[in-house]
């Protein structure tokens, strides 16, 4: 559990369009790494290269290396499906499966892969995972209700539970709170602080305070202009990025002068 990730010289394309260029960075295990930057600078594109979800989009491809504990996730014999079992993802908008109950949503990653679970083991996983996602007390009496019957914040925690139920090593979160109210946002931030004990977490956020609150390290991405590729400007301990950034662009962005 909780693996280290090293990205070397990564380019991400949509067809001919180079969206992210030359990113090299390291993500420490058992920590929260925040990706910040203005809209369109390629944060989502980059985070989706880590679990090979980028190539799901027709025409999209990746150059470069993403090493997880030294193994290249883009190596010739690596199955993207296997990568995604190790690197889970939470999306911007909560997206529980509408045909499934709360309990079924938690077990989705296991059941969809045609694995059979004895009933008691399934119940154990549901309870343990929902507890880990700080959702158990709120839903324990209605596990058989549809996932869509929950509030937005609860749905997002359900999606986090769904992601950790398959026991990944790394969890990617692309703006997980941007569709949520402040209270739900706090609940998710608390959850992240707990999850980093066991997982490597990467989060994209638009909210600078959130990056400062939850992350150990922060990477700032920027874009030179529309149609240009996004690039990593700098990466450092979060406290350093927010107090003494090395680059002028970083300072301008975090002080709210653009973006």
């Amino acid at each position: 559990m909780a693996k280290r990730i090293d990205v070397n010289n990564l380019n991400a394309f949509y067809g001919k369009f180079l969206a992210v260029e030359g990113v090299s960075l390291s993500i420490e295990p058992k920590s929260v790494t925040a990706l910040i930057g203005p809209s369109g600078c390629g944060k989502s594109t980059f985070i989706r290269t880590i679990n090979r979800m980028h190539e799901v989009i027709p025409g999209a491809r990746v150059e470069g290396e993403v090493l997880m504990d030294g193994i290249d996730l883009y190596g010739t014999n690596v199955d993207p499906v296997a990568v995604r079992r190790h690197v889970g993802m939470v999306f911007q908008r909560p997206n529980p499966f509408p045909t499934m109950t709360i309990a079924e949503n938690v077990l989705a990653g296991i059941r969809l892969n045609n694995r059979r679970l004895p009933k008691d083991q399934a119940e154990e996983i549901v309870e343990g995972t929902l507890r880990a996602a700080n959702l158990w007390d709120e839903v324990k009496d209605r596990l058989e209700r549809p996932g869509s019957s929950l509030s937005g914040g609860q749905q997002q925690r359900l999606c986090i539970a769904r992601a950790i139920a398959v026991k990944p090593d790394v969890i990617l979160m692309d703006e997980p709170c941007s569709a949520l109210d402040p209270i739900s946002t706090l609940a998710i931030e608390d959850l992240m602080a707990e999850l980093k004990e066991n997982y490597t977490i990467v989060i994209v956020t638009h909210n600078m305070q959130q990056a400062a609150r939850v992350s150990d390290r922060t990477a700032f991405f920027n874009i030179a202009g529309a149609g240009k590729p996004g690039k990593l400007v700098e990466m450092n301990a979060t406290s350093v990025i927010f107090s003494a950034p090395a680059e002028k662009a970083t300072e301008d962005y975090i002080s709210g002068r653009f973006g």
Binding site: V81, H86, G88, F91, N95, A108, L112, R145, S149
Partner: protein, 321 residues
């Protein structure tokens, strides 16, 4: 009407007389159009019921009381103005042929739709979409001739069996199933596909267990409507399956009656001579049978629609709290 409301710098105009009039006119027009559209439908249903029930009111011995003889008898040994004979053979024929047609066209149509929506790219996808469009426009009589000609080559000239008719109906059903399934697969949000893939679920399982499952209610409704569409087809079945008076359970051998063809053949027999006052005889028995069969056909189509609605209700994604 109301005067201008003024307070300080805020001015609220009263509801304009012209806009209120236009609104009322439009409402009237909408209701009028709706009623107009409803008239033929209601008329049709009333006519079919009032003319169709007659056959259920006289039994095969000529006694006047409500009875199910029409549903439990075939036309075997029925002639002239005998107040006997029913649609058992035609109703089973229609069910058998339609079921086989559905069994052929649902897998083909659904898989085609899955290919087009989930996998297809480039020229092959465009070609398939084009040919499905072309198939949609095939006249049903042409589909019947095609199936007849196909089996003339495969099974010998003059082959008229239920399977030939089922193939003809399948040719008509497939494009409808493809189209409606495509629509239903397309409205499954992409987020659900991504959520499933990101859990490490392979694409084919994602398509099967998330996309098709989420769209299942809509796909079923589409299939039911496609069946309702072809169940009344007459011309292709006349050519491909022919006419029969007795029961035939074997789709691979011999002609088989179907409800639409039954209606046509009864109607074509015309009035029957009733010369012997000692024998129960109804002169317009054939017309009565045709209407009664039409009534049963409509009821079957309505039942199919009802089933489609129930399936949609119980299987559609659960929402709300």
């Amino acid at each position: 009407m109301a005067a201008v409301v003024e307070q300080g710098t805020l001015t609220l105009e009263p509801l304009s007389r012209r806009r209120a009039t236009v609104d009322r006119l439009m409402q009237a027009a909408v209701y009028a159009a709706f009623t107009l559209a409803l008239i033929p439908l209601v008329w049709l249903i009333v006519t079919v019921i009032s003319r169709g029930v007659g056959r259920f009111m006289i039994d095969s011995d000529g006694e006047s009381h409500f009875n199910w003889d029409f549903l439990t008898q075939s036309m075997r040994g029925v002639y002239g103005g005998m107040p006997a004979g029913g649609i058992l053979h035609a109703a089973t024929g229609t069910l058998i042929i339609t079921l086989i047609a559905a069994a052929i066209s649902v897998p083909i149509g659904l898989l085609t739709a899955i290919y087009v929506v989930e996998y297809g790219r480039g020229p092959l996808k465009r070609a398939i979409t084009f040919f499905v469009d072309v198939m949609t426009g095939i006249p049903s009589i042409v589909a019947g001739l095609f199936a007849y000609a196909l089996f003339a080559v495969l099974a010998g000239p003059g082959t008229k069996t239920a399977i030939v008719g089922a193939v003809a109906l399948a040719v008509l059903m497939i494009p409808v199933v493809v189209r409606s399934s495509e629509e239903m697969l397309r409205i499954v949000p992409n987020e659900l596909r991504e959520a499933s893939l990101a859990l490490g679920v392979p694409k084919w399982l994602t398509v099967l267990k998330i996309v098709v499952r989420t769209a299942f209610a809509g796909i079923t409704t589409g299939v039911m409507l496609a069946i309702a569409r072809v169940i009344g087809e007459t011309a292709p079945l006349l050519i491909a399956v022919g006419v029969a008076d007795s029961m035939n359970w074997d789709p691979l051998d011999g002609r088989m009656m179907t409800l639409p063809v039954y209606i046509v053949s009864e109607y074509r027999k015309g009035p029957q001579p009733c010369n012997n006052p000692d024998v129960a005889c109804i002169a317009d028995i054939t017309v009565q049978r045709a209407w009664a069969a039409a009534l049963v056909l409509i009821l079957i189509v309505m039942a199919l629609n009802l089933i489609a609605r129930l399936i949609a209700k119980y299987l559609s994604p659960k929402t709300g709290r």
